[in-house]
């Protein structure tokens, strides 16, 4: 029984790149032969259950484990005190400033709980049921402390998330175009616009989200002698291995980390978790294999969350809508701890708020803050969706203020295709792009003009269901990342990726990649790349990843980096194979290497019909009977590629929303997007990434939001209340692409994993606002629930006929805005 490998129609049959290959990954997944971590059973394996704090902030005064220890099947009950010397810490790898305030994050807490759900004790039992039965038998005495839950409140330092640190302010980070020489002075630009231009001031809320990958996290640890094997549902087996070694003292060489089939991540599995470290510590202490699999409720409670920012934005422009300056002031809620790259996530927005627009002056300020809630880290897009939302909302507000179509204001201000490469006011150099082409195509696919006409009709008819059109002409920076830039940002590692290619004597090819997939389709895409590069059959390429014993070097999968960084490493390894094979082929063909040309998998002697297929060279190399003097008998090659730049995909997303003004309910009428992700290796995979990304972005706009009550209890603690959309809540999308090849990698590819999510959120919200703007509504807080939409309509004052609503300046009445409070940059914070 095999899945078919036939393909859809293809334009260039001789090339694999560009073909809509069906996935090699699918067979085991559609037949139930998957290898997810929780599927594993090892002989003698114990099952763990976590005793978690119900309180958001508390001191632990005592833990009585006697009753639990006596419960049926229970082998051990382990507290933080018991494993304090071996449990390590959940480290922050990116202190954004040298004086960042970073609380120590113990996997199993000892005496201080900083958010609900923290692990207080671990039960090991013969069965999972027995382990869970014993949870309620552990008697923990807590002394509750006041919890700080709101980031703006936290900035006052009146209630402290970590009393011993003396402050909730973790770090302040600034990028100023005048100071770094990449642009003008933003305060001057704003001051000038206040007298003779336009100033738009808004405060937007980026609500807290939960990544909500479908596979709950699971870890199996097998201690064998002094070696330790860790299987985990992680995006980052290599980073996990490094951080286990770095924080527990276990020799890295004794550690093997395996990410088997991983059921989605979206940044949510870009972490080293308390659960992983606790499982490792308990397995080491007991000398037995141990498994811990979280429930969904535990996952929502204790896995890291995403977003959670307040964005105060000031945009200045000429009266005609030409932008002159942008000032960004962020408050980023990190939750209780600074996660592995938690502090850095909002900072990634620094290069993205200016987006595709030619701002002459720019300033980005970010204050990170600690609260008694779940920690916050990467979630699909990580820093860029927040920025894109802010700027794309602001461009719509500017268009409304100037009184032009939102696409027009964008065109007036965007980088034209002739201007690439273009160095932005933030200091990034965009290598390629064509915003005009993507926009023109999207408008046509969407039927923009017809929808605008319908919108006008429905406005005139006072239709209770109004139509709105939302625009998002996004770009993003991905392909993390040039190591030198990461170094300059105080990031704790590099951004390279590694690949190895092994030429097997039977003509098969093994590709080892350090980029560990969890649904993206690396196996298929890498096969296509290598098939073209080495001229071998797609079917003959096998891709190995996700096991540090097999793929020892890697930086893993996140930040839409796999193809642009990891794929380039594969290309370079393949090129090295060819170089090595060429020497041997020349020897076997008794020709000069200079006279050989490599094409279609064959070394041919120029001007003759003599040649050798690369597989033949591989076999001859394996035999090693007849090699040139001094040449090693191996074609196998490694490449470690450090990117020279980020990747800048872009696109134009257009969304039509219908808004029922009687109930506040919204429904999506249509969605069309044209993305430019450079050269496409597999259009099927690209479409899949876009579709999935779109729904996550749309979902932020409409459905999702992590909510805590006043005690710090997560109210949206199950899938009943954390409302993910189903097939019945979503629509089919119109997607297409334009291609502006990247100039910074061999294949011309750009990242695609996060694009849909980054683009979609502002497109949806802009559409809802567009539907309601005649009522004087200029913002609705996300998720735009029916109740919020309805409340906005109720509180709106309809302006007199023909009179446009003046844009308010940090309007306290607006539903999206807390009382604005002081500027975080005033008085030189920190």
């Amino acid at each position: 029984m095999t899945v078919t490998d036939e393909t859809q129609t293809r334009e260039a049959p001789e090339l694999e790149i560009g073909r809509a290959r069906f996935r090699k990954e699918d067979e085991r997944l559609i037949t139930g032969r998957s290898r997810f971590t929780d599927n594993m059973q090892l002989p003698g394996m114990l099952h763990l259950a976590m005793v978690r704090s119900p309180f958001a902030h508390a001191t632990i005064t005592s833990i009585d484990t006697d009753a639990a220890k006596a419960a049926p099947g229970v082998i051990a009950v382990v507290t933080g005190e018991d494993i304090k010397d071996i449990q390590g810490v959940n480290a922050n790898a990116w202190p954004i400033t040298t004086d960042q305030v970073t609380p120590t994050h113990l996997p199993v807490v000892i005496d201080h709980v900083a958010c609900a759900g923290e692990i207080v004790a671990v039960i090991a039992a013969r069965t999972e049921a027995q382990a869970r039965d014993a949870i309620e038998l552990v008697d923990v005495d807590y002394e509750e402390l006041p919890a700080v839950l709101d980031s703006k409140e936290a900035l006052k330092d009146e209630v402290l998330a970590h009393p011993d640190l003396g402050t909730n302010k973790s770090a302040f980070w600034q990028l100023d175009s005048a100071a770094q020489g990449s642009g003008g002075d933003v305060e001057e630009a704003i001051a000038k616009a206040r007298t003779d231009g336009v100033v738009i001031e808004r405060e937007f809320r980026q609500q807290r989200l939960i990544p909500a990958f479908m596979e709950p996290r699971s870890t199996v640890v097998d201690p064998t002698g002094d070696q330790l094997t860790v299987w985990s549902a992680t995006q980052v087996p290599h980073i996990l291995r490094f951080l286990i070694a770095a924080t527990t003292g276990l020799p890295e060489s004794k550690l093997r980390v395996v990410a088997p089939d991983v059921g989605g991540g979206f940044g949510g599995k870009l972490q080293t978790t308390p659960e992983e470290f606790a499982t490792i510590a308990v397995a080491r202490r007991l000398g037995k294999p141990c498994k811990y699999t979280e429930t969904r409720s535990e996952s929502l409670l204790s896995g890291h969350h995403g977003r959670d920012q307040w964005q105060k934005l000031t945009l200045s422009a000429e009266k005609d809508g030409t932008v002159t300056g942008l000032k960004v002031e962020l408050i980023a809620d990190l939750g209780a701890y600074v996660a592995v790259i938690g502090g850095g996530i909002p900072v990634l927005g620094a290069w993205m708020f200016n987006a595709i627009y030619k701002f002459p002056a720019y300033q980005f300020n970010c204050q990170t803050v600690l609260t008694n809630k779940a920690w916050v880290d990467a979630y699909r897009g990580a820093g860029r969706p927040e920025a894109t939302f802010g700027i794309e909302r602001m461009m719509d507000e500017l268009a409304a203020e100037v009184g032009v179509d939102p696409l027009e204001i964008r065109e007036q201000n965007w980088i034209t295709h002739e201007e690439f490469p273009f160095t932005t006011v933030a200091g990034m150099t965009y290598d390629s792009g064509n915003y005009e082409a993507a926009t023109a195509k999207a408008k046509e696919l969407f039927g923009y003009d017809a929808l605008r006409a319908e919108q006008a009709r429905r406005r005139a008819d006072k239709d209770p269901v109004q139509l709105g059109i939302g625009v998002s002409t996004f770009t993003e920076m991905c392909g993390l990342a040039p190591s030198r830039i990461l170094g300059s940002l105080n990031y704790g590692a590099g951004g390279w990726e590694h690949a190895s290619i092994r030429m097997l004597p039977t003509g098969k090819v093994e590709v080892i990649t350090g980029s560990s997939a969890h649904g993206q389709g690396h196996h298929t895409a890498w096969s296509q790349i290598v098939a073209d590069r080495l001229g071998v059959a797609f079917e003959d390429v096998e891709v190995l990843h996700g096991d540090t014993a097999i793929a020892p070097k890697g930086m893993d999968t996140y930040g839409s980096r796999s193809l642009v960084v990891g794929g380039e490493a594969v290309v370079r390894a393949a090129d090295k194979v060819i170089e090595k094979a060429k020497v041997i082929a020349a020897h076997l063909l008794e020709a000069s290497a200079d006279d050989l040309e490599f094409s279609g998998g064959r070394f041919g002697v120029k001007g003759t019909d003599r040649g050798l297929a690369i597989g033949e060279v591989a076999l001859a190399t394996f035999a090693a009977h007849n090699l040139p003097d001094g040449v090693e008998p191996s074609l196998d090659s490694d490449a470690t590629y450090d990117p020279v730049n980020f990747s800048f995909p872009h696109g134009t997303h257009l969304c039509a929303m219908e808004v029922d003004t009687e109930t506040g309910a919204t429904s999506m009428r249509s969605y069309a997007c044209v993305d430019d992700v450079g050269v496409i290796v597999n259009p099927l995979l690209v479409e899949g990434q876009i579709h999935g990304g779109l729904v996550q972005g749309i979902s932020q706009a409409l459905w999702e939001g992590a909510e805590y009550d006043e005690n710090g209890t997560l109210v949206t603690g199950s899938f009943v209340d954390y409302t993910l959309p189903t097939a019945a809540d979503t629509i089919s999308f119109v997607t297409d692409t334009t291609v502006s090849p990247s100039t910074t990698n061999t294949l011309g590819t750009k990242g695609v994993g996060e694009a849909g999510t980054i683009a979609a959120t502002p497109a949806v919200v802009n559409a809802i606002i567009d539907a309601l703007r005649p009522l004087g509504i200029h913002d609705i807080q996300m998720p735009c629930t029916p109740e919020r939409v309805w409340q906005a309509i109720q509180s709106a004052s309809t302006p007199p006929e023909g009179e446009r609503e003046a844009a308010p300046h940090f309007d306290e009445r607006a539903p999206n805005q807390d009382p604005p409070g002081g500027s975080i940059t005033e008085g030189g914070a920190q």
């Binding site: 049921a129 869970r132 039965d133 109930t663 009943v720 409302t723 993910l724 629930t785 109740e787 409340q791």
Partner: protein, 285 residues
Amino acid sequence: MIPASFDYLAPATAAEALAALAEHGDDAKVLAGGQSLLPILRMRLNAPEVVIDLGKIPELQGISEDGDHLVIGAMTTYAAVLASEAVSTHAALLSKAVATVADPQIRHRGTVGGALVHADPAGDVGAPVLALGAELVIAGSDGTTRTVTAEDFFEDLFTTAVGEDELLTQIRIPKHTGWGAHYEKFVRVSHQWSIVAIAATVRVEDGAIAEARVGLTNMGATPLRVAGVEAALVGQPPTDEAVRAAVASIADDTNPPSDLNGDSGYRKHLATVLARRAVLAAAGA
């Protein structure tokens, strides 16, 4: 994800089940379709010592007609209700409401009686059963049977007239043959419990509403029926304007909950809009 331990009983008759209930009292929980009970047990929000499964009692299942009544066994699944032509003909409102319950998998297992006794105010079966003027047949462990009206059946949040040693056995619904029906359910995502829903069934005669029955879901601790609105609808043409006026007071005496999906005031507003839509749809307008 794993319930606490319990003993399991699967009686073959209602009498056996009642005897077991009498024996175990409040240590026991009755398992009907289990689609609400099992999540509660898995999350350990309840930990009964005994679970009495009614799934092996054929007499509690099935749909039949008894003169001018439709008789639905308490253990009849949503899927069976949906598949029943008798229900769609004589109690279309119930068919329409049941079609919106949760999702297909849940509807394959969940039972009408289980939902009624669970009495979640956001459940979709209570309002139509109430609006249709159903009677609920309750059997006691002493061998007696009593019948209560739907009005008397729903007592409070998750509380019904069914006592600890009793079982709901049948739902008797007066036939509403030829009545139009609509269940207008308002949710943010499709698999959600009702934020608010309106169950409406009307008989239209000579271009006017001759009779109307309207029930409310999640507008209070129990499903509600609004006699005043039903009366106001009688004689009205099924037009937007007339129905709007007739249902305007529908939320006046309600006390709906406030939660993440909407506060009480918003729910009251929703009820008036949804009621108009439900009645108009039921009237085929």
